[in-house]
Amino acid sequence: MIGIGESPPRPDGFAKVSGSARYVDDVSLPGMWHGATLRSPHPHARIRSIRFNAAKAPEGAVCVTAADLPGPNGVQLLDDGWPILADGFSLHVGEPIALVAAPTRLAARQALAAFTVEYEPLDPILTLEAAETLPPLYELRLENGDVEAAFAAAEHVIEGTWRTGHQEHIYIECNGMIASFENGGALTLLGSMQCPYYVHKALTHAFQLPEDKVRVRASVVGGGFGGKEDFPSALAIHAGLLARACGRPVKMIYDRHEDIVSTSKRHPAVVCHRTAVSADGRLLALDAEILMDGGAYKTLSPVVLSRALLHCFGPYRWPSVRVRGKVLRTHTAPNSAFRGFGAPQVEFAIERQMDRIGRELGLDPYEIRDRNVVEPGDRLPTGQILDASTSARLCLEEVERRTGFRRRWKELEEARDSAADGEPRRGIGLSLYFHGAGFTGNGERKMRSPVTARLLEDGRIEVLTAMTDMGQGCAAVFPQIAMAAGGVGADDVIFAEPDTGDVPDSGPTVASRTTMIVGGLIARTVAELRDRVLAWRSASEKENLSIREGWIENASGRAERFRDAARRYREETGPVEVTIHNEPPEWQTFDESTYRGAAYPTYAWGADVVEVEVDPDTLAARPVQVTAVCEVGRAIHKTLCAGQIEGGTLQALGWALMEEIKLQDGRYLNDRLATYIIPTAKDSPRIDVHLLERSWEGGPFGAKGVGELPMDGGAPAAVQAIENATGALVNEIPATPERLMKALGSSNVLPSETSPPGPLSSEAGEGERRRGIPS
């Protein structure tokens, strides 16, 4: 028996460490060809003509353009406004223009040379400032209380503008898909994805096929982080189009270059804050504007913006708020889902704004948070009353207790001006953060996602969900939940592969919902099957039986295996199947027109302390130590739960300190891992995770969502630590050495009694610094 909170080896673990796990690129079908994509080299262009000279292509190569589509030219997500293939216009570099299939991967690549495309380049919109002159892709407002009156009465009004950049997912396995048409015209897809039913919906729409003529199966998924939420729908259609054109299975595997260039990224954002604060440091009003760069197409941006609005106020009490949010359109690849989904950008902004407020009022980062942190019973700006599982203060106090942050921060503040020339500078930063678990607003209510459990002929329970394990570990967590909920043994439950031909649409594997929502449904379906078997046995034995660890027992302790009883029950009654739909609690209602109500059933909470070391010569900031205190309800599998926080924290630090997509005229300067830098083992700090386990009654065995939370806290804490170390006021991430140099060489630096603004080492001379370093 494996209990809740234990950490058994993940069931897919040994296959992954021994190389036998089959990812999509490890699969080869008989007669399979390979596909490749012709991409636009222009950020904005009219497409005058596309020609394919078959004589120049490897023999037999087939091509597909927008003219060959069997249905509407749109990838169905929220709507179908994202073209499958560019038609008439291309709106970003890397946009798919045409597809080609050939017998080998190399031949497919070579066949791209047989295309001639006549483009008429048009002026691109490449900055948020320029994009503001055009209608936004989407906009939202949230208003509550009398903001103007609060500002009029406030002792302090503090402004801040905070900027965050693109982030590329860099799942180690690039996007990949294999499509084939089976006898009878059914389209079958196998690939790397988070959401088999999203792909299914997009395929039925694009190919105008009935639902039962499309089957989508997820292979082992080599990382997702949101990057395989919507993009696989487009790639699946591409592979399907080529399979249809050549009459064979077609595999499309992106190389790293095209995965970086063409797939979605985290939205760059600018958040402008104006905050009204009382003399004693109480927050009175928040007035904020959020601008997000949606890229060329809307994709999932409206939902990302929604989550941004619902997290931009941070885990703090606000008597009044006014937030305007817009997603703007630029001629860059569409930005879409990435772990955190709009929250990391706005939580970076509000946390840095809190630091600025603290400095203005002479309060340290702990004090300003301590005075304003939300408590159970407080209202969020949406009107949602926070329940007893509101743990922001607990996290804040615990991280202080574990790190002695306040004392260390003060020591380093005082040491800053007197640091010896050329010595590495240490700094420490604190952040407090939260994350709404599950779909935003009424998403879960609209989906009513089902989970099915059925008795197999051998008496085992088979659980059917559409969830994919992209590494986060639902393949381990789900069986733990099933065993604990059903009182059954490890061998009594199996889980179906995520295949739309078998499993119900239990929703996408996103939004930190998998354990909390789907895990809860698994617990209920398995318990229901167990109850039926027990009731049947109790009736025939004429006594109430109980179950423990897979054994059914009567009052005198006589036992029989659950599986044997279930097999006989199944023989007697025929197929036994239970489907339960998710019904959010009645109190969880949200008005999407006014942004009032409970946007999430619960929130996960966290506080990070990050210590950095800044090299005085290179200005590279290296995180040395992170302490993350998180409350995510109860951990089902402690090692995997902590693993989510460890990995998410490093991903946040990469975004904060080094990861940067560099575009010049809309073209990528760093579309490869040699130049788009993510943290290595040498760059990574020691990450100590402390789970504050508190049971939340709405989740299975008290669990909330965990996956996205750790993305929210690392960046503001790291940048505050840099400020603590160097005095540089960095208002844009990544906080690269170039940006630090710029801040130190300008007035964007903390006032100092003893030294003028300048570099941290006399090696870099005054004159050199004044010339300005491009960022």
Binding site: V17, G19, G222, G223
Partner: protein, 150 residues
């Protein structure tokens, strides 16, 4: 053109262009798909294999360089005495999505061959050429340096 070498302890032969990448030879000609491609340019380490006991990036090794050499892949390592280490690697949370894992296992195993009890710093140094996007490296380091100062 034929190239002969030792593969996971057995004699092997590949009939392919001498400039073909060892990665493709392993995956496509010899059916050993445990070795993964993450970037194709020697930056991510997912395709790491051992050549004469040293970690090399198989996406950067042309086949002709393998002539007469001893190549070991994750499949070979998993069949050998590494099993205990691999089970520890799973238990400590060293694996999430698993795409970087074969390369990390190969690199880590090579380290353990020359240093049975690496420190955390030695493990970080050895792994510096292998990117992992899931774990924050903590679970991996716990497997490699269980005695490391905590």
């Amino acid at each position: 053109m034929k190239t002969t070498f030792s593969l996971n302890g057995q004699p092997a032969e590949a009939d392919a262009h001498p400039m073909e990448r060892l990665l493709d030879v392993l995956r496509e000609h010899l059916g050993l798909t445990g070795t993964k491609e993450g970037c194709g340019e020697g930056e991510c380490g997912a395709c790491t294999v051992l050549m004469d006991g040293e970690p090399v990036l198989s996406c950067l090794v042309p086949l002709f360089q393998c002539e007469g050499r001893r190549i070991e892949t994750v499949e070979g390592i998993a069949e050998g005495p590494a099993r205990e280490f691999l089970e520890r690697f799973v238990a400590t949370g060293g694996v999430q999505c698993g795409a970087c894992t074969p390369g990390i296992v190969v690199t880590a195993w090579a380290l353990l061959q020359r240093n049975g009890q690496p420190s955390r710093e030695e493990a970080r140094e050895a792994l510096a050429g292998n990117l992992c996007r899931c774990t924050g490296y903590e679970g991996i380091l716990r497997a490699l340096a269980p005695e490391a100062e905590r």
